[in-house]
Structure formats: structure tokens, C-alpha cells
């Protein structure tokens, strides 16, 4: 056993590097970065579930919930980014806690689709609610930071620095969780719930906890996305295709490491951005093709490239 956790060192290095790069990168790159952090957080939640063999086709529910929570707060005049993010994260976590009492009893395709059903209910409600702008949604006021209201390019640099810092805390937290006994109960639950029960722990409770974690992460991602785009609307926050994108990132990344999720999220953003720019009519085709290629050639995700390269080096 290594004395130092290499993942933690790697995360700290990546954090420092990105923080420095924040002041060098052009606006559009920073925007891709923000989207990566937002979607990456949701995919990280899906990783926590997926390690236990569960997949959700409905996490746009918590993503949208978080985004709308943050947006509504700005409408009420609360613009502090920290308050917005924490409120969005916790309210999504609370929703996951409640729905979790039902979902913890389901597995496999039933779990995946029940999540989707709940997300469609939120989507339908948002579309029908005129007070929330129906299909158009509504704008999100520019966030402030403990009284400091940035202007010009500082708006995005501050938001990126803020989101990156919180993401770092969140990712380290998830990494430590996955290393813990409770987090380590993933494979055990996927393989044999009966044995887990007869060792004296409730597999359903462990799944419930994982579900709440995934809800918290998705709510956090939603808040970051709402602040980054400055607008919330049902189609880009709560539609089932949004849930599909999160699953896409999870498959792309693999479940090897918390860092892999963000690499996957970045690759996803890049493919999407460039496909959309250079092939606006067939960009979904390109996305689909890349997913196909990953599943066929790298079934364990991008992260497995690392092991393959290491093996090739001998």
C-alpha cells in the first residue's frame, strides 16, 4: 500500500494547474471548462451508482432541480454563488433522499427507467408552468461572491475559480468516500446483496446513501450550469436526452477513477462543441459514432487507456 494517495496528489496538481490556466485561457475555453465541471459532477454521481451496477436514465431530474433552484433564488434577489450552489446541492440531495425510499427497492432496468419517469414528471411540470417561463425558461442573474460582484471577463474567471474550487472539494470527498468501507461496498452489493445483509449491513441502505450522493452531485452540477449559461430552460436542463448525455459521459469515462469522469466530461464537451460547429447537421451522428467506438474498442472507458499504455510500456 502506497503511503501517499496518488489520486489525491494528482487531483491537487490538476487543481493548481487549472487554477493558473484560468487566467490564461480564452473565454470560450473557460466556458467549455465550466460545462465540463457541471456535467462532470453529474457523471461522478452516476459513477458512484454504476460501481454498484446501477444506472440512472433520469439524473437530469436532479440536475434540472439544482439549476432551477439556483435560478429561482437569483430571481428572489439572492445572488451569492456559494448560497446558490449549496442550496441547489442540498435541495437536490433532499429530493434524492425522498425518492430514494422508493428507488432503493429497484434494480437494473427498473431502477434506470423509474429515474427517467421521475425526470419526465419534472420536465412536464416545468414545461407547463408559465411562472417559470414554460419551454423558454428564464434568466439567471449574474452571481456575486460574498459581496463581490465581478464585471467583464472577471465574471467567468471568478465563476470558474469558484466552481473549480468547490469541484476540487467535492471530488476529493467522493474519492475518499469510494475508498471508505461504505464506498467499498459497491462490488459487494452488485454481486451479492444477500451476503451483505447476512454480514450485518443493509444493501438497500447503502444504495440509498449512494443515491443521495448522486443527487447531491447532480444538483451541484445543475447550479454550476445555471450560473455558467445564465439561463435555465427545460430542454437543456431536464429533458431525458440530458440524462442520456450524463450516461454517455459515464460510459466514455469508465468507472476507474474520479479523475476519469472529468476527462470524459471534457472529451464529451469537445466532441460536442466541434461536431456542432463543423457538422451542424450530423453532430448527433458524430456523438453516436464516438460512443460506438468507445464501447467497441474501450469498453472500460477512456481511463483504461492508461492501463493499456502502462502495459504496452512493460
Amino acid at each position: 500500500m502506497a503511503r501517499y494517495d496518488r489520486t489525491l496528489i494528482g487531483l491537487a496538481l490538476a487543481f493548481a494547474l487549472l487554477m493558473a490556466a484560468n487566467f490564461l485561457m480564452p473565454e470560450w475555453v473557460r466556458f467549455i471548462g465550466l460545462q465540463t465541471l457541471a456535467r462532470g459532477a453529474v457523471a461522478l454521481g452516476l459513477l458512484v451508482l454504476w460501481r454498484t451496477g446501477l444506472i440512472s436514465f433520469g439524473h437530469a431530474l436532479y440536475f434540472g432541480w439544482g439549476a432551477y433552484t439556483a435560478a429561482l433564488l437569483t430571481r428572489a434577489g439572492i445572488t451569492d454563488a456559494f448560497v446558490l450552489t449549496v442550496a441547489a446541492t442540498l435541495s437536490a440531495g433532499l429530493l434524492a433522499l425522498l425518492l430514494g425510499f422508493l428507488l432503493r427497492r429497484y434494480r437494473a432496468i427498473f431502477f434506470a427507467l423509474l429515474n427517467m419517469a421521475f425526470s419526465m414528471i419534472l420536465y412536464g411540470a416545468l414545461v407547463k408552468t408559465e411562472a417559470l417561463g414554460s419551454t423558454d425558461g428564464f434568466g439567471v442573474a449574474s452571481p456575486s461572491y460574498f459581496g463581490f460582484a465581478p464585471e467583464g471577463e472577471a465574471v467567468t474567471t471568478t465563476l470558474f475559480a469558484f466552481s473549480l474550487t468547490l469541484t476540487f472539494v467535492v471530488v476529493v470527498g467522493v474519492h475518499l468516500y469510494l475508498r471508505s468501507t461504505l464506498g467499498g461496498l459497491t462490488l459487494a452489493i452488485r454481486e451479492n446483496e444477500i451476503r451483505v445483509e447476512y454480514l450485518g449491513y443493509s444493501a438497500e441502505r447503502a444504495i440509498h446513501i449512494k443515491y443521495v450522493i448522486s443527487g447531491l452531485l447532480a444538483g451541484f452540477g445543475g447550479a454550476v450550469m445555471a450560473m455558467a449559461i445564465g439561463q435555465v430552460d427545460p430542454d437543456s436542463m431536464a429533458l431525458w436526452t440530458v440524462s442520456g448525455e450524463f450516461v454517455f459521459i459515464t460510459v466514455l469515462s469508465g468507472t476507474g477513477s474520479v479523475a476519469a469522469t472529468y476527462v470524459g466530461a471534457l472529451v464529451f464537451e469537445l466532441i460536442r462543441t466541434y461536431a456542432f460547429e463543423y457538422a451542424p447537421h450530423v453532430w448527433q451522428l458524430i456523438l453516436g459514432g464516438s460512443l460506438l467506438a468507445i464501447i467497441m474498442f474501450l469498453p472500460e472507458g477512456l481511463w483504461s487507456l492508461r492501463q493499456r499504455l502502462a502495459r504496452a510500456k512493460g
Binding site: M1, S180, T181, G184, L187, A188, E197, Y198, L199, G200
Partner: protein, 261 residues
């Protein structure tokens, strides 16, 4: 000595089919009891009820004076009754070592302690000792799915005993094991359990195993206990001969207890 497990008037029926009827059993500490009976006689149902997997239709189950009927398996496990399974319930894609590491981790922690790292040197030591005790240390790095049947059985029982249970229920520990290996397997299991002075109830079809390892026999037939007696006596019981040992009796493999009679 006081009874640690007292089962009274236990009943269970599935849609009208009686799986357990008027079951009365009292188990004292340090006993080693064999449960025999044909397939479908209600042996596993009995174990499932005692460990909380199945809810009885009626009756009471008391463990160390405490009513445990209706508690979920994890609570009963925490109170000190553990079990193994007829088909090994292990984490198939993990190594033997990791299987036990997980088992110890779940057994040792509760509440916030679950957030401590899964791996620790002290826990690894305990896993090592446990592997030695069940003589499967050589298989530590083998993935459970690739284990020989007998070793997997040992792993299953090793996992069931990480909590050092007061009472252990084994569901056919020797099923699927070749005749030559059975005794060796049982010797390992019994020696390991003796160290902790665990009280054992086990389901067994092989009468040679029953005669060699158990002091008392519970014979099940159609959901009822038709005989509860010291082993030698049970082997001579006319109802046991008729309803449990019948087949072997006619096939010529007369149990030695019956032969001596």
C-alpha cells in the same frame, strides 16, 4: 445450561402448503446439532426463519432470551446468529482476500466508522489469520469464481464467521463436495468453530458426516420435527429410518449407526 435458542410452535405455510408445523427446538450453548431430512422437508425453511429471511406464520423464536422473530437478517446477524448457504454466497469477482476484507469491514464497523478506509494493516492481519484458520491462505489472491468448489465453501463459511457468532447455521456445508474431500472439509470447519466455541446447527444429507460430527439430530419430515434425539438414538428411531434414511436403507448403504444396532 440455559438454552441460547428457543423455538416454540413455529409455523410456516406458503399458499396453503405447510413448510413448518409445530416446531419446538431448544438449543444449548456448545451443542453441535445435525439437521436431516429429505428434500422439501422444511430444513432450509427452518434456517431461513431463524435468520430472519422468512417471516414465520406463527410461533416464537427467542435467542438468548430475546424475541428475534420479525427482525431483518442483518439485525439477527448483529445479535450473533450467522449462517452459510447451500450455494456459496460470496463476491464472485473479488479475490478470496478481498471477500474477507469486505466481510470484516462490514462486521467491524457501524455508523460513521463506515467512512474509514476499507483497507487497514490491522484488518489485513485479521483476514490473514482467518484465512489460516480455514486453511485457504494459499488461495488469497484467487478470484472467488475460479475457486474449486470445496475452497469456495470454506470461504463462504469463513465469511459467515467473521463476527464470531454465538450460533452458526450451516446449510449443507458438504453439498457438491466429493466424498473423499468431505471429511477433510468438515475437519477444517469444525476445528475452526471449536476455537470460538461456536454453537452449530447444520443441514446434512450424508449420514457418515452426521454420525461423526454431531451430538444431536433433528429429523425433519413434511415440515415437522419427527425426531429430536442424541445421534445414535436418532439413527435407530423407526420414523427416522422410514422417512429420512429410507432410501439409503434400501439401497444398501445402511448408516453405521443402524448397522450397530
Amino acid at each position: 445450561m440455559a438454552a441460547i435458542l428457543e423455538v416454540d410452535n413455529l409455523q410456516k405455510s406458503f399458499d396453503g402448503v405447510v413448510a413448518a408445523k409445530d416446531i419446538h427446538v431448544s438449543v444449548e450453548a456448545d451443542e453441535i446439532i445435525g439437521i436431516i431430512g429429505a428434500n422439501g422437508a422444511g430444513k432450509t425453511t427452518f434456517i431461513n426463519m431463524v435468520t430472519g429471511y422468512l417471516a414465520p406464520s406463527a410461533g416464537s423464536i427467542r435467542f438468548q432470551g430475546r424475541d428475534i422473530r420479525g427482525l431483518p437478517p442483518r439485525r439477527i446477524t448483529q445479535l450473533g446468529i450467522c449462517r452459510s448457504f447451500q450455494v456459496s454466497q460470496v463476491f464472485m469477482s473479488e479475490t478470496v482476500f478481498d471477500n474477507l476484507l469486505t466481510a470484516f469491514a462490514i462486521a467491524e464497523v457501524g455508523g460513521l466508522a463506515l467512512l474509514r478506509p476499507l483497507f487497514s494493516a490491522a484488518r489485513a492481519d485479521r483476514v490473514g489469520t482467518h484465512l489460516e484458520r480455514y486453511q485457504i491462505a494459499d488461495y488469497g489472491d484467487v478470484i472467488a469464481a475460479n475457486l474449486p468448489q470445496g475452497v469456495r465453501k470454506l470461504l463462504d463459511i469463513a465469511m459467515a464467521t467473521v463476527r464470531r457468532p454465538t450460533l452458526l447455521l450451516l446449510d449443507e456445508p458438504t453439498s457438491g463436495i466429493s466424498t473423499e474431500e468431505k471429511f477433510e472439509l468438515m475437519d477444517i470447519i469444525m476445528a475452526a468453530l471449536k476455537q470460538d466455541r461456536t454453537t452449530v446447527l447444520f443441514i446434512e444429507h450424508d449420514m457418515e458426516i452426521v454420525e461423526r460430527y454431531v451430538g444431536r439430530v433433528l429429523a425433519f419430515y413434511q415440515g415437522e420435527i419427527i425426531c429430536d434425539a442424541p445421534t445414535a438414538e436418532a439413527m435407530r428411531d423407526p420414523r427416522v429410518l422410514e422417512f429420512v434414511l429410507g432410501q439409503e436403507y434400501h439401497a444398501g448403504h445402511r448408516p453405521s449407526g443402524a448397522r450397530n444396532a
